[in-house]
Symmetry: C2
Subunit: 339 residues, 2 copies
């Protein structure tokens, strides 16, 4: 048993304080807390009592330093104001929290540079695992990741190169929704997108491919806007579109909030939906199911993505080989009254 150190003031109780109080050595307290079955029942109870009495709270930094395990996971998402990522985060949390891991959440604001900066910062925490969104890391960030040797899983997109990933094909989803519109007889289909992140662009690629294949592609019907998408912006984009290509018979909006904005603006202009103009959105956000008419959209596996990605990461961290390093969760077309 180590001598009790004199403690000045009322700084927090430490392991040795508890140990001194109970009359055992510090390591025993540590064991009672972390590997309870290595300590006898009776002693464990006395320890629990002392812990409560002294208000002992373990010091995570000390634990991390001594054990070289931080029990924290870095999760980097492009935005916290987008329901897509929030839902994914919730799923990740639901898996990781019971496993004893803390999430360090970083918001990259859709910028690879910001992502690199966050990565640099969070690497100081010595995370046990990393969850990233997409594959568009800067070269420096990729180097950091490689050098750190920390298990990493990418979410929301699929990789052909063998990097661990969970998501769905953005290209296919854009292609499929456009094909649905073509099948319904629409011929002059516009594409409206805000927040030009890589996933948006790949959905646009799918849109373009479908139309080109049908011989119906017209670049003037493609309208984009770098700022984050919102209902208000949907209205603005429709106004721009009608000025530039007034003959469109359908719009593919890259996100449901844009679609709702387009619907509102169409109503203001007396454009009937879907008779004069069909509207399709993306992501199946809550509101698109309830508008009048309800908006056709693509349901994306947000919660499942977070859940599966966390599972894969847990496997990698435990040194287990996950069943698959590439999990394609697919997507679902929801044809509703707006098309």
């Amino acid at each position: 048993m180590t001598a009790r150190k004199p403690r000045i003031g009322q700084s927090r109780a430490t392991l040795s304080d508890v140990a001194a109080h109970v009359g055992v050595s510090a390591i025993t307290i540590s064991r009672a807390l972390n590997k309870p079955d290595l300590v006898s029942e009776a002693l464990r109870q006395r320890i629990d009592e002392a812990v409560r009495l002294l208000g002992y709270v373990p010091n995570r930094a000390a634990r991390a330093l001594a054990s070289t395990k931080s029990n924290s996971i870095v999760v980097l998402v492009p935005s916290l104001s987008n329901a897509v990522f929030v839902d994914t985060l919730a799923a990740v949390h639901d898996k990781l929290y019971p496993a004893g891991y803390q999430m360090l959440i970083g918001d990259t604001r859709y910028s690879p540079e910001q992502e690199e900066k966050l990565l640099r910062t969070y690497l100081e925490y010595n995370p046990d695992g990393i969850l990233l969104t997409g594959f568009d890391q800067t070269p420096a960030a990729q180097q950091l990741l490689a050098a750190s040797n920390i298990p990493t899983v990418h979410m929301m997109e699929l990789d052909e190169g063998g990097r661990p990933c969970v998501g769905f094909s953005q290209f296919d989803s854009g292609y499929a929704l456009t094909s649905l519109l073509l099948a319904k007889g629409y011929r002059r289909i516009a594409f409206l997108a805000a927040q030009l992140d890589p996933r948006t662009l790949r959905r646009g690629d799918g849109y373009r491919a479908a139309l080109q294949q049908a011989g119906l592609y017209d670049a003037s019907r493609e309208l984009t806007e770098p700022n984050p998408s919102s209902v208000g912006m949907g209205g603005g984009l429709l106004a721009r579109l009608l000025a530039q290509a007034p003959d469109c018979d359908a719009v593919f909006c890259n996100n449901d909030d844009l679609a709702v904005g387009v619907l509102f603006e169409a109503q203001r202009r007396g454009i009937r939906v879907p008779q004069d103009l069909a509207i399709a959105g993306f992501n199946n956000l809550d509101m698109s199911a309830w508008s009048n008419p309800a908006i056709t959209t693509v349901a994306t596996p947000r919660y499942a993505t977070g859940s599966e990605a966390a599972d894969m990461l847990l496997a990698l961290m435990a040194g287990r080989q996950p069943a698959s390093l590439k999990v394609d969760l697919g997507f679902e077309l929801l044809a509703r009254d707006s098309t």
Copy 2:
């Protein structure tokens, strides 16, 4: 100069690795990194180069342990899927990040018990400061906070008891919006609320007070629902309301998404807004400005709350006395076409 420790494998470079490489002592590297002006220009450059060469990343746990400062701030919000808190978080981040602090974000899911649990967990990180939402902590959580002696600021509500806080009066905002409806001539005003957190309830108190004062309160027009609010739920609540109190001439929705849902449902039922039914929302979310008609709402100071709260916390952490311990940021009524 301390001897270089033999390093096996390729575990991360440490301060002493850098020191050995440059040929100085570890503390000098530490100084070059943290207090650069204590180290000569020439040496600093050599150190920077070595840091880059070895890919040195400081170990946060070790730094926290040695300095007894974690440079991290715990921020607990009730939900990440509510734009209100996300905006607030963004503001907090914008202030804290430049000051060198990391945020540890916790999502309490509107539960004081969960909040207590998170607090317990995050206290292990030895945060330098804490930001909480509201004042409804469990007694145990309050005890934890008091014992920890960590500067804490409460957001979104105001306290009479002198605890540091930044927000606005939820009661007053509910009272003011109801008064606006009364002033416009509405007499049978309903109140629809989901997610019955304390702030919702206090807004409801304001609503009730205004109506009671006017002698127009009728409990059957108050309808609540414990689950999180959404557009879909707004429609459901309107349906319930019409069954129970079909003569309402206005609805005060506790959040804009409910209001939009009510509007959609009214449209489906052929109820004219505002002629047959006026609709008011809360929080000034993006969509409420663009619907047809645009929805009357209350603009709440979300970003400012985060910003001011972070400022206050920074002052408290630095041992400075903030200008005021109670910052009332007010709110703004936005009368639009739906009333």
